[in-house]
Symmetry: C2
Subunit: 156 residues, 2 copies
DNA sequence: TACAGTATGACAATATATTGTCAATTGGTA
DNA sequence: TACCAATTGACAATATATTGTCATACTGTA
């Protein structure tokens, strides 16, 4: 007889995702602030540094699930800071490729050297299998969301 | 002898959190767009609607893990849209309480009626126990992050 | 009471990210 | 070739969220 509507099981998980997203961005900002980086810039820099072959701005955007425009702005900042630069793309005159500068390589290494022990400490005592299972669950939901949005809109 | 640095087990989970956060906000925006809501406004409206006793803007911010200022702006929009209003707070002249209007109650109900089947469909086939375990893991990491940031800064 | 510390809302500046629009580029096809 | 659809980067407008600063309001304590 209750008028309460039972929330879907995923709802508390989603709330945790929102909060964790904000907390991670804030923690990342603090972690690399003195390297002239932010979480947003670090994320793009990390893709450029770790991808097997150079990507265009639009490709980077697809890789990290942001829009072209957002990545475009961050990349422009990274160019202004001398961390990445554009290289002509022999297959597409318009879509130049983003590559690391020497300075960008150094900064990315410095950020990664901090990130690894930081994230390791954060996961201390958590079973790797549980972490993997949680990540897989999020991936499953993400795939469903993105598949469904594909049927509604062209651009991510 | 490899120069590769093993990433922490949490790293892939964090990447999923970033992407899922963005996808959920986009999906929420679409879900309630015609109600004159967005994900941000919906989140604040949901707190106001489901809390046992009215809260101030600052209390709402603590509840959802955003800053006072962000919630302040969203709340002002909700007031402008006639979904919530301020009520004098007998215990604090400055910190007025945010309460639903009749229209706000209707809109929040309409949003919830859509959200529940949407989230249920999204979780179809996933075991509730797995979802709960994932949510608990995120909560654990979140608690560690927020505890650590407390030692560094006053305000969330 | 008086005062110090804290909480709160207002305001401004900035960072992040999306949406919409446009022209240039590319690839496929009639 | 000529045309059409999709991709891409540029630009503008807007939404979201943080940080910093300030005056006001409350709380506890001397």
């Amino acid at each position: 007889m209750s008028k309460m509507h039972a929330a879907a099981p995923l709802t508390p998980l989603f709330i945790s995702v929102f909060r964790l997203n904000g907390a991670l961005i804030a923690a990342g900002d603090r972690l690399v602030a003195d390297l002239d980086l932010t979480s947003a810039r670090w994320q793009v820099l990390g893709v450029v540094a770790n991808v097997p072959a150079p990507l265009s701005v639009a490709s980077i955007a697809r890789t990290i699930g942001l829009t072209r425009q957002g990545v475009r702005g961050v990349t422009a900042e990274l160019v202004a800071s001398g961390l990445v630069e554009f290289k002509p793309n022999p297959h597409h005159r318009r879509a130049q490729l983003v590559v690391l500068t020497d300075k960008g390589r150094e900064v990315e290494h410095a950020a990664r050297r901090r990130q690894i022990p930081w994230a390791t400490a954060l996961g201390k005592g958590l079973k790797p299998r549980h972490i993997e299972e949680a990540a897989m669950l999020l991936q499953t939901v993400l795939a469903r969301l993105e598949r469904h949005s594909d049927t509604q809109k062209d651009e991510l």
